[in-house]
Symmetry: C2
Subunit: 309 residues, 2 copies
C-alpha cells in the first residue's frame, strides 16, 4: 500500500506519493487556487491522480490521503476552520477525493505535518520526543511525543511562538505583547536590525538597503562580511531565541529540537551559538545538552508528514 | 490486587494503601530520617507493613509499590539521583522492600506523583491532558498527556518554574534570571509585597510584620482586609502567574490546569482573576477558556499518584 501527502501552501499545492514508512517516491505541483473551495479540491484531486499515474500506482493502492493546511483545523471533522492565506474558512475535505479515491482523508496544520516529516525521515529521526521550531514570518511549532503528533485540546497545541518572553514587549498579532515570535522570527531579526540601524549609521546594512528592503538574509550576510552592528544584532537575536528554546527544553526535555524556516538557512553559524546558550542554561543530568539540528527535508517535510498522518 | 503509594517528604513519610483505580483505603506516617539511606528504607518498609496490617491486606496482594521522591530521579534504575531535602544522593530503591514484599518498586518525583493523583481522582478527573502547577516555595509542574505522566529525556520534563518570563529579571537558583518561579511562587508573592512595602508605608502589612516574618497568607489576608497595597501586589502577582499559565496553554492546550501548593489555598479569590486573565489571552476556538481549578486531594494526591505510577 501507498499514501498520498499534500502540502497546501499559500502559493503552490504539492501532492507526493509516499511509502507507508515515509519514503517520498515522487511529487507534482500546481498553483493554489485562492478563495475557491471547489477549485482547490479539484486541484488537489487532479494532482493526486497525476502523481499516481506518473508512478504507475493504481488508485486502489492508496490507503490514505493526508493534507497539511495553513490555518486552524478541526481534525475530527476534517475541516479547515480558518485559513486566512487560502481565503477560506469552514471547508470540509472529508469527501474532496471521493470521485477518484475511496480511502480515508485526514488533515492537520502545515507546521505539524512538517514536524512529523522531519521526525519520521529527517533531522528528528531516532528521537522519541521531538520539537520542531520554524523561524519564518512567525515562529511555528510542532510537537511529536512518544512518536506521535501532540495536538491537544481543539487541535490547537504547539503555538510556541505565542509564549510571552518579554512582558509588555513588542505587540503581537495574537493580541499579547512580547511573544517569542516577535523576537525570534525572521521578522523579529529584521526589526532588531532596523532598531539598531536607527541608532548607528556605521553599518554596511545602510548601504545595502538604499534601494532594497532589509531582509533576514542580509543581516546574516552582513555578519559574514564582518559588520559589527549586524553581529551584535545577531547575537541579541540568538539570546532571545535561546531563551525561548531553553524554556521549551526545561518543560519538554525532548530528545531533539529541529530548527526550520528561513533563518535556519544560516546553518551552523546559527546552531553553534544557539547550542552554546541553550546547553549552558538548560536543566540536565546528562553531560550532553539537548541536540539542536537544522531541518533536513526542506519543503518535502510537509508532504511526507501529511502522508504519515 | 492493591497498591502501596509512598509520599516521601522532607519532614514526614506517608504510606498509603490504594485500590488499583486510586481509591485511598488508609495511610500511616512517620518522621522522615534525613541523611541515612538505610534508616529511610527501613522506615518506608515498616510503614508499608503497618498499613497492610491495619487494613487486613496480605502482603501478597500488593502488586506494586510506588514512591514519590523530592528530587531528581532516574526511573529506569529506580534511583534518587539528587535529593537535597533528604540529604541523600545516588540511592537505589529497587530492593528496598525485598525482605517484606516481592512486588516491583517504581519511583517518580513528588510533583509528578501529585499530578497523577489529581488526574486520577482529583481536580483533573475526566481530562485527557492535564497540567498541574504547584505554587509553593518554587513553582513545580507535572504533565499528564494522553492519561500518562510525561517525563521526557532523563525524566526531567515539567520544570515549568524554570521558563524565563522576565529576561534579566530576578536571579533564580537554577542559574537563569527571571524564571517563572521567581515571580509566581509563594516566595515570589512575598518578594513583590516586600518591594511594594519599601516604597509605601501605608499598608496594614507593616503593622502585621512588626514581630513576624511576612508570608504569602498575610498578603492574601491583607487583600481581604481591603489593604490597597496588598491588593495591588496580588493583582501584579496574578498578572505574572497568568502570563506563564497562558504560555503553557498556548503550547499544550490541556483539558485542564490544576493549581496546588500554598498560594492555591486562597481559592477562588485566586482562580477567578487567573481565569479571567488567561482566557482573555489564550489561543482558543471553543468559547470556553481552559478550565483552571484548585487541587482537590491535598497531601493525598502524592500518595495516590505514587500508588498509580
Amino acid at each position: 500500500m501507498m499514501r498520498l501527502g499534500i502540502d497546501l501552501g499559500g502559493t503552490n499545492t504539492v501532492a507526493g506519493l509516499c511509502t507507508t514508512d515515509g519514503q517520498l517516491i515522487g511529487k507534482v505541483s500546481a498553483p493554489t487556487p485562492i478563495g475557491d473551495a471547489d477549485a482547490l479540491c479539484r486541484t488537489m484531486r487532479e494532482l493526486c491522480v497525476a502523481v499516481c499515474e506518473k508512478h504507475n500506482t493504481p488508485k486502489e493502492e492508496i490507503e490514505q490521503i493526508g493534507i497539511g493546511l495553513p490555518g486552524v483545523v478541526v481534525k475530527s471533522t476534517c475541516t479547515l476552520e480558518f485559513g486566512t492565506n487560502l481565503g477560506l474558512s469552514h471547508v470540509c475535505f472529508a469527501n474532496a477525493f471521493a470521485s477518484e479515491f475511496s480511502c480515508p482523508v485526514v488533515i492537520d496544520n502545515d507546521a505539524n505535518c512538517a514536524a512529523l516529516g522531519e521526525f519520521a525521515g529527517g533531522a528528528g529521526r531516532g528521537s522519541e520526543n521531538m520539537l520542531m521550531v520554524t523561524l519564518g514570518t512567525g515562529v511555528g511549532g510542532g510537537i511529536v511525543l512518544g512518536g506521535k503528533l501532540y495536538t491537544g485540546r481543539d487541535d490547537l497545541a504547539g503555538e510556541i511562538g505565542h509564549m510571552v518572553l518579554v512582558p509588555n514587549g513588542v505587540s503581537c498579532n495574537c493580541g499579547r505583547k512580547g511573544c517569542f515570535e516577535t523576537y525570534a522570527s525572521a521578522t523579529g531579526l529584521i526589526r532588531l536590525a532596523r532598531e539598531a540601524m536607527e541608532q548607528d549609521s556605521d553599518s554596511i546594512l545602510h548601504e545595502w538597503t538604499r534601494d532594497t528592503k532589509l531582509n533576514a538574509k542580509m543581516v546574516c550576510d552582513a555578519c559574514d562580511a564582518g559588520d559589527a552592528l549586524a553581529q551584535k544584532v545577531f547575537s541579541d537575536y540568538c539570546d532571545y531565541l535561546a531563551c525561548g528554546l531553553t524554556n521549551l527544553v526545561n518543560v519538554f526535555q525532548p530528545d531533539s529540537i529541529v530548527i526550520g524556516g528561513g533563518v535556519a538557512g544560516y546553518g551552523e553559524k546559527l546552531f553553534v551559538p544557539l547550542r552554546e546558550r541553550v546547553h549552558a542554561q538548560q536543566f540536565h543530568v546528562s553531560p550532553e545538552g539537548t541536540p539542536i539540528r537544522g531541518a533536513a527535508l526542506g519543503n518535502d517535510a510537509g508532504i511526507i508528514g501529511a502522508a504519515l498522518l
